[in-house]
């Protein structure tokens, strides 16, 4: 190989090497977790997970016993159901309330709408920590703590500023003339919202839904605060974090439980990644 050719190839080798190294750094920890979750307890404690790589096709060294065990006695089945209930409520309600508000602030012309929009965006500054104690006290009075309804409402309150901010920008980009024409044709405000604004902003709404879905599914802190010690309503994140305490060194079970909690978000992520990325970009750069 000539020296000139070598000099041209060298940067490419370095770039590829660096990217592949980075990919390995991101894959290996998760791979270790995944492999361990399929190994019998005795082997998990006596040898590292990487030892299976010397004979990866020896299927007798793997077992699904750990999954059976966390799903039956680890309380992961109930937690899985709870996560679904919490996440669906915590996604549908805030997105709907935010869509209404964003539409009103963008397409209805009334006094004070700049003020209200400013007020909502201003709430982005408030860390949730500022709200925990008063809201929890209110919830204790109203018996809302430890309930799915209470948690849904909390996620709505917390998710709204960002959701309104994002959808408002999208609705603003829709031409006013379009709505004008619809009104002239006799359409009501509600009709233009449901038939025009919503269908035209499906990409933005899809992004927001995925964003909020993953956010609520993965939330630990808000659930800890408002669900307290109620195991019967605890979502996967709470269940998993208490297993970290109680299972301690039972890595065969912990890894299986962790994977159960990661399964849904990973499926959502890999199948709808485009929308998720768009949501992040929509919220982060373009506003």
């Amino acid at each position: 190989m000539s020296r000139a050719k070598l000099r041209r190839m060298l940067p490419r080798v370095i770039v590829n090497g660096a990217v592949i190294l980075a990919m390995a750094l991101w894959i290996v920890p998760t791979l270790g977790l995944f492999i361990t979750s399929f190994r019998p307890a005795s082997e998990v404690t006596s040898s590292g997970w990487w030892t299976v790589l010397s004979s990866p096709l020896k299927f007798t060294q793997f077992t699904i016993e750990n999954y059976r065990s966390v799903l039956s006695t680890g309380g992961m089945t109930t937690a899985f159901r709870n996560s679904f209930i919490i996440t669906i409520g915590g996604t549908v309600v805030p997105v709907f309330v935010a869509a209404l508000a964003a539409f009103g602030l963008s397409k209805l012309h009334f006094g004070g709408r700049t003020f209200f929009y400013g007020l909502i965006v201003m709430m982005l500054v408030v860390p949730t920590q500022m709200t925990f104690i008063p809201v929890l006290r209110l919830y204790n009075k109203l018996s809302l703590s430890g309930t799915f309804l209470g948690l849904t409402l909390v996620h709505t309150g917390y998710g709204l500023p960002f959701a309104v901010f994002m959808l408002h920008n999208f609705f603003d980009a829709l031409p006013d003339d379009l709505f004008q024409a619809a009104y002239i044709d006799g359409a009501s405000v509600w009709t233009t919202f449901v038939r025009l604004a919503i269908p035209l902003s499906i990409p933005a709404i899809a992004s927001l839904v995925i964003f909020q879905f993953l956010f609520v599914w993965n939330d630990l802190l808000v659930a800890l605060i408002y669900l307290g010690g109620h195991e019967s309503v605890a979502p996967l994140t709470m269940r998993l974090s208490s297993l970290v305490g109680s299972y301690g060194q039972s890595w065969h079970l912990l890894t299986a439980a962790a994977f159960v909690s990661m399964f849904v978000p990973l499926v959502v992520f890999f199948s709808l990644q485009k929308y998720f990325v768009r949501g992040i970009l929509g919220g982060a750069v373009k506003g």
Partner: protein
């Protein structure tokens, strides 16, 4: 001509959101400020007592120090690696695959990521078979295994690495979009002028990406000030790894001290305000 709306229609659309924000944001924020001047049960006025605790107690000072460590290394790490990866992946053919892999931890919970890394950091005394990958590597290289999560100050850095693993992908995705948005002519003009890669980087790439960079930096700063899950799951603030948000949680539930917990929240809020203000301003600017 724009549609004139009365009073009732806007109320029906915007009202619910405003009501939610009053109940879940505005009212509690004001109430928390009031609580921060009251005692542990919010019964009597104690002046600045709780703030004195926040700024002088050894536990809180420890938490501030650790959060500062997080601010420096986490922010520099996520943004720095994110930027580097954004530029690197642009030059390989399997760009989208590489991005998916690095971005993936954003989809799973911090609790899940905490378990992944607790396993990576697993420690067993020398002589026993290591089951944590990092200590196995150390042993192969002839070093003694390290109690990554127990030994201070290495444990703070071990926790920060978990944070980097989760958030670098987020920074990369945003910075990658901004990098691709730099007009190609600009980069080519720079190359024609004979600018070296580093000059191109400092004089064209960085200034062109400034809006995205400021959004990413401020977002990471706010994240890191509120960092909770990773600490809660991996060390619960023991062995000198306490941080502000975890301390607030403890004051609230473990010690049932509403006054102190509120004062911590208020201090956190005051630190976050200027950063968020800058963050939102950058986002609004990005819109234009």
């Amino acid at each position: 001509m724009k549609r004139k709306a009365g009073f009732l229609t806007p109320l029906a659309y915007v009202g619910p959101a405003v009501a939610f924000l009053l109940v879940y944001q505005l009212y509690p924020a004001v109430q928390t400020v009031i609580y921060s001047f009251l005692d542990r049960r919010s019964e009597s006025f104690v002046g600045l007592e709780n703030y004195k605790y926040v700024f002088t107690s050894p536990t809180m000072l420890r938490a501030f120090k650790n959060n500062l460590l997080w601010v420096v290394f986490f922010t520099a790490g996520t943004v720095g690696f994110g930027l580097l990866l954004a530029i690197l992946v642009d030059r390989v053919k399997y760009e989208s695959l590489a991005k998916s892999v690095i971005f993936m931890p954003m989809a799973v919970s911090f609790v899940g990521a905490g378990v992944v890394w607790k396993f990576m950091y697993n420690y067993r005394p020398p002589g026993a078979a290591q089951i944590g990958l990092l200590n196995q590597i150390l042993e192969v290289l002839g070093f003694k295994p390290i109690g990554w999560l127990i030994e201070s100050p290495v444990n703070n850095f071990a926790l920060i690495v978990v944070g980097l693993w989760i958030w670098t992908g987020y920074c990369m995705v945003i910075l990658s979009a901004a990098y691709k948005g730099i007009p190609k002519e600009l980069l080519e003009a720079g190359q024609v002028d004979g600018a070296r890669d580093l000059q191109l980087f400092w004089h064209i790439i960085i200034p062109e990406m400034r809006p995205a960079l400021s959004v990413v930096v401020t977002t990471m700063l706010v994240n890191v000030l509120k960092i909770f899950d990773i600490i809660y799951v991996m060390t619960n603030g023991n062995y000198g790894t306490e941080v502000i948000a975890n301390r607030m949680y403890k004051e609230m539930f473990q010690f049932a001290n509403t006054g102190r917990a509120s004062a911590i929240a208020v201090v956190l809020f005051l630190i976050i305000i200027p950063i968020m203000y800058y963050n939102i301003r950058s986002k609004l600017k990005g819109e234009e």
